[in-house]
C-alpha cells in the first residue's frame, strides 16, 4: 500500500479519466503503442500494463472495435471507437463537464465564504 495519501487519491482520480482519454483518443484508429504515445504527448502517461488490459475490457464491453493488420511489415492490432463507444463517450464527457462545473461552483462558493 502506498503510504502517500496524495498518490493514492491521484491514482483514484486518474482511473476514470484515463478511460475517458482512451475513448476520446480512439475516435481516430490507432494501435496500442501509438495510442500510448498520443496520450503521453498530451501529458497523460499510461503504462502498457494498464493500457492493454483496459483496451481489452473496453472492447469486451462493445465500446471499441479492433482488427489485426500489417503495417511496416509487422502485424498490429488497431483499435477504433465503436458506435456504442461514441455514444457512451458523449455521455461520459457530459458527465465530466457537469462534475467540473459543480467543482468550480463549490470552489467559487468556498472562496466567497472565506472572503
Amino acid at each position: 500500500m502506498n503510504p502517500d495519501p496524495f498518490e493514492n487519491l491521484r491514482l483514484e482520480l486518474r482511473r476514470g479519466s484515463v478511460v475517458l482519454a482512451v475513448l476520446a483518443a480512439l475516435r481516430r484508429e490507432q494501435y496500442g503503442y501509438t495510442l500510448r504515445k498520443t496520450l503521453s504527448d498530451h501529458g497523460l502517461e499510461i503504462d502498457e500494463g494498464t493500457l492493454y488490459p483496459l483496451l481489452r475490457r473496453l472492447e469486451s464491453q462493445g465500446l471499441l472495435n479492433s482488427q489485426w493488420r500489417e503495417e511496416d511489415k509487422r502485424r498490429k492490432r488497431f483499435y477504433l471507437l465503436s458506435a456504442e463507444g461514441a455514444r457512451v463517450l458523449e455521455q461520459l464527457l457530459a458527465e465530466w463537464r457537469r462534475i467540473d462545473l459543480s467543482l468550480e461552483e463549490i470552489l467559487k462558493e468556498q472562496s466567497h465564504g472565506n472572503n
Binding site: 503503442y33 492493454y52 509487422r74
Partner: protein, 331 residues
C-alpha cells in the same frame, strides 16, 4: 532478441488459455515498437542490458499477466466484514475457551495432568498445540469455505441487495438495562430465593421414599451464602428496574455478586459435598459408586466452571469500564 522471447514466454504462462496467443502478439508488437523507436533515437541497435532495462520497467511477467486476468476475490468487500466478525466469534467462543479449559484442567485436575504429562511436559504442550491448530484450521477453514460459497451465490443472485432500513436493529444504549430483563431477573431471583429457603436448608434430602442424599457440614455455609446472595441479587434487580441505567456503583455490585456466586460454586464443586447417596433399591456398594461418580463429575466440571467464572468476571469488568457518566434524569 532472445531475452524478449524469454520474457514473453514467461508472461504467456500466466495468461488465460483462450487469449494467450492474442495478448502475446500484441505485447510483442508493443515491445518491438518501443525498441525500434529507441534504436532510431540512438541510431544504433540496443544492447541486451538496455533491452533488459525496458523489460524490468514493464514489471515481472506474473504481474504483467495478472492485469489481463479477471479480478477475482475469495470473499468480496460486501461479505468480508461479516467473515471477519465470524472469525472473531470463533476465536472468542471456541478457541479461547478451549485453551482456558485446557489450562484449567492442567492446573486443577491432577488425574488429567498426570495422564497428559506421563511422557513429559513438553510432549503434553506439543500435543495440545497440535490439537489446537487442528481445531483452528478446521473451524476457520469451514468458515472460509462457507463464506466463499456465499460469495459465489451472492455474485449470481445478489441476495444481499435485498434489505430494508426498517429491519435494522434499533439503536441501543449499552448502559441501558431493559426493564423486561430486570422484571424477569427479579421474578426468577425471588422464586429461587423462596424455593431455596424452603427446600435447600436440610443436609439430608429425601427425594420420595427411595432416594436419600446426605450432604456435608459445609452445605450449611453454602446454603446461607446463596440465600444472602439471592436476596442481594433481588435487591439489585429491583434497583435496576427503578433506575434502568448501569452506574459504576451498581455495575461494581453486580460484579461483586457474580464473583462471590462463582467462587462459591467452584468451591462447592471441590468440596465433596455429597457424603452419601443411597437408593433403597441399590446395594450399599452401588450407592457408594454413585456417590463417587457424583464427586468425579463435579471434579470434571470444575475447570469448566472456572472458565465460565472468568468469562462472567470479564463481562462484569467490561460493563464497569464502558459505563458512561449517568444521565442526571435517569437516576
Amino acid at each position: 532478441m532472445e531475452i524478449i522471447e524469454r520474457y514473453l514466454e514467461a508472461v504467456k504462462f500466466w495468461l488465460p488459455k483462450g487469449q494467450k496467443e492474442d495478448i502475446i502478439e500484441e505485447l510483442a508488437a508493443d515491445l518491438d515498437a518501443q525498441v525500434k523507436e529507441r534504436e532510431a533515437g540512438l541510431s544504433r541497435e540496443l544492447s541486451e542490458a538496455e533491452v533488459e532495462l525496458i523489460l524490468k520497467q514493464r514489471g515481472r511477467p506474473v504481474v504483467v499477466a495478472n492485469r489481463f486476468l479477471p479480478q477475482e476475490q475469495l470473499i468480496g468487500p460486501l461479505l468480508f466484514p461479516v467473515y471477519r466478525f465470524v472469525l472473531k466469534i470463533i476465536c472468542l467462543c471456541y478457541l479461547l475457551p478451549w485453551s482456558l479449559v485446557w489450562i484449567g484442567m492442567m492446573t486443577f485436575d491432577r488425574a488429567y495432568r498426570a495422564q497428559q504429562t506421563h511422557v513429559s511436559w513438553l510432549a503434553a504442550v506439543a500435543s495440545a498445540w497440535s490439537t489446537w491448530w487442528t481445531m483452528a484450521f478446521g473451524a476457520i477453514g469451514m468458515a472460509t469455505l462457507v463464506f466463499a460459497i456465499l460469495e459465489r451465490v451472492q455474485a449470481r443472485s445478489h441476495f444481499l441487495d435485498e434489505w430494508s432500513p426498517r429491519k435494522l436493529p434499533s439503536v441501543r444504549n449499552p448502559n441501558q438495562i431493559p426493564r423486561a430483563n430486570s422484571i424477569v431477573e427479579l421474578a426468577l431471583t425471588l422464586l429461587f430465593f423462596v424455593w431455596w429457603a424452603l427446600n435447600a436448608s436440610p443436609r439430608v434430602l429425601d427425594l420420595g421414599s427411595t432416594v436419600r442424599i446426605e450432604l456435608s457440614q459445609q452445605w450449611v455455609w453454602f446454603f446461607s451464602a446463596y440465600l444472602v446472595l439471592a436476596a442481594a441479587n433481588a435487591a439489585l434487580a429491583a434497583a435496576n428496574l427503578l433506575h434502568p441505567y448501569w452506574t459504576v456503583r451498581r455495575a461494581s455490585l453486580r460484579l461483586l455478586s457474580d464473583a462471590i456466586g462463582a467462587v462459591l460454586f467452584c468451591w462447592l464443586l471441590r468440596a465433596h459435598i455429597v457424603t452419601s447417596f443411597s437408593v433403597s433399591t441399590l446395594t450399599a456398594e452401588k450407592s457408594l459408586r454413585v456417590t463417587q461418580a457424583i464427586d468425579f463429575c463435579m471434579d470434571k466440571a470444575f475447570p469448566w466452571a472456572i472458565v465460565v467464572s472468568v468469562a462472567v468476571a470479564a463481562a462484569g469488568i467490561y460493563r464497569i469500564v464502558r459505563v458512561k457518566p449517568p444521565d442526571p434524569s435517569s437516576e
